[in-house]
Amino acid sequence: MSVAPAISSWFAHVGTSIHYRKPVELRDETGDLVVSASPPSAKSPTVLWSIQSDDHRLRATKAVTVHLRREGLYWFAENESLRVFAHGSTQAEALSEFQEHVAYFHQYFQRLTADEVVGEGARLKRLFADSFEPT
């Protein structure tokens, strides 16, 4: 894992003299001989805080987890509760399609009346209505 350097050496040019000022090293680290240089994979979920499609922007009342994975040549972006499954040839494409789907279904369920949905459809209608609001 590459990490942007915390502190890099710098110098000040004063007349014809060049002064190098070394940064203060702060890093006597606990466990430096046992912790791997590259941290393990993240375990916590990746989230979206808002939904942005070509035509709409939605504010999420709660963070939306996006399960991102790569299989073969494609990236997949999914949310089980929302029943949204998207894919793309890049991660950005998959996320973009994911947001398009969420925005589409938000509008779709808004147009349906309560007696036009039952079971899972009713659940999704409630979930989309409660979870997102247009900005």
Partner: protein
């Protein structure tokens, strides 16, 4: 001649309550380490401590010989079968680390027991340093090229008007002293090993270096944990705490 050490793990004194257990904790690794003046017995009789723990830590990892570094300071690692937990022993340090942290109440007795058995076996009573380190890895999605900093952290980065504060990358390290020791906090944006995902690394390292005794490990680890917990709770933004509590659309 080994001095008599405390051989039981003292119960934690009742305090204001441990941190809430987060359903979606970003914690990926926790390390408890002690350092002491070089003790050759550790290097020469390494097998004796291994014999005490081999049932739980059967896997032995040996160090590479690194040019310019004395071989005797390089540690052996003893790992559990699945590699989740590691005990590290070297001539002047001992560490216990786990990649599966199930709360301080579970970690504390395990770390203290392993360290106390080590100190007792080799007659180590004086310590030069103790350290408790929490490494968090938080995946995030960028909002355009900019880091969604305020969603995750309360740390305010105030720059002069001439510098833009829409950060694309950040690496921040600072060490703060307190009554019981010093805590180094690192917050950095980074990429996963395969360069495919953006993450924040949130790394807390609490160290004690003054007048330390192997008989007081429980006190040291408690003080280190309590301070780190307060710092963590203060640094993480409420919006991300909600994610950690599981208040998400998942």
């Amino acid at each position: 001649m080994a001095k008599r050490l405390v051989t039981h793990v003292s119960p934690r004194s009742a305090k204001s309550g441990d941190a809430p257990k987060y359903q979606n904790s970003p914690l990926v690794e926790v390390v408890f380490e002690i350092r002491f003046p070089g003790e050759p017995a550790v290097e020469c009789h390494r097998d004796e401590y291994f014999a005490l723990i081999r049932k739980e830590f059967p896997k032995v990892w040996v160090p590479n010989a690194e040019p310019g570094k004395p071989i005797s300071t390089q540690p052996y690692h003893f790992k559990t079968e699945a590699g989740v937990e590691t005990v590290m022993v070297a001539i002047n340090r001992f560490a216990y680390t786990t990649k599966r942290y199930e709360g301080f109440e579970a970690f504390r007795p395990r770390a203290i027991d392993l360290a106390q058995r080590f100190c007792r076996h080799y007659g180590i009573s004086i310590l030069t340093r103790t350290g408790l380190r929490y490494i968090n890895v938080i995946p995030f999605l960028r909002e355009g090229p900019v880091l969604p900093w305020k969603r995750y952290f309360t740390v305010e980065l105030t720059l002069p008007a001439t510098s833009a504060d829409d950060f694309q990358n950040v690496a921040l390290v600072y060490e703060s002293r307190c009554e019981t020791g010093a805590i180094t906090t690192r917050i950095a944006s980074a990429k996963t090993e395969d360069e495919s995902r953006d993450v924040f690394v949130l790394d807390f390292d609490f160290a004690k270096t003054a007048a330390l005794s192997a008989g007081k490990l429980a006190t040291y680890i408690d003080e280190s944990h309590d301070h780190t917990k307060r710092v963590f709770e203060g640094i993480v933004a409420e919006s991300y705490k909600a994610v950690m509590r599981g208040e998400v659309i998942s």
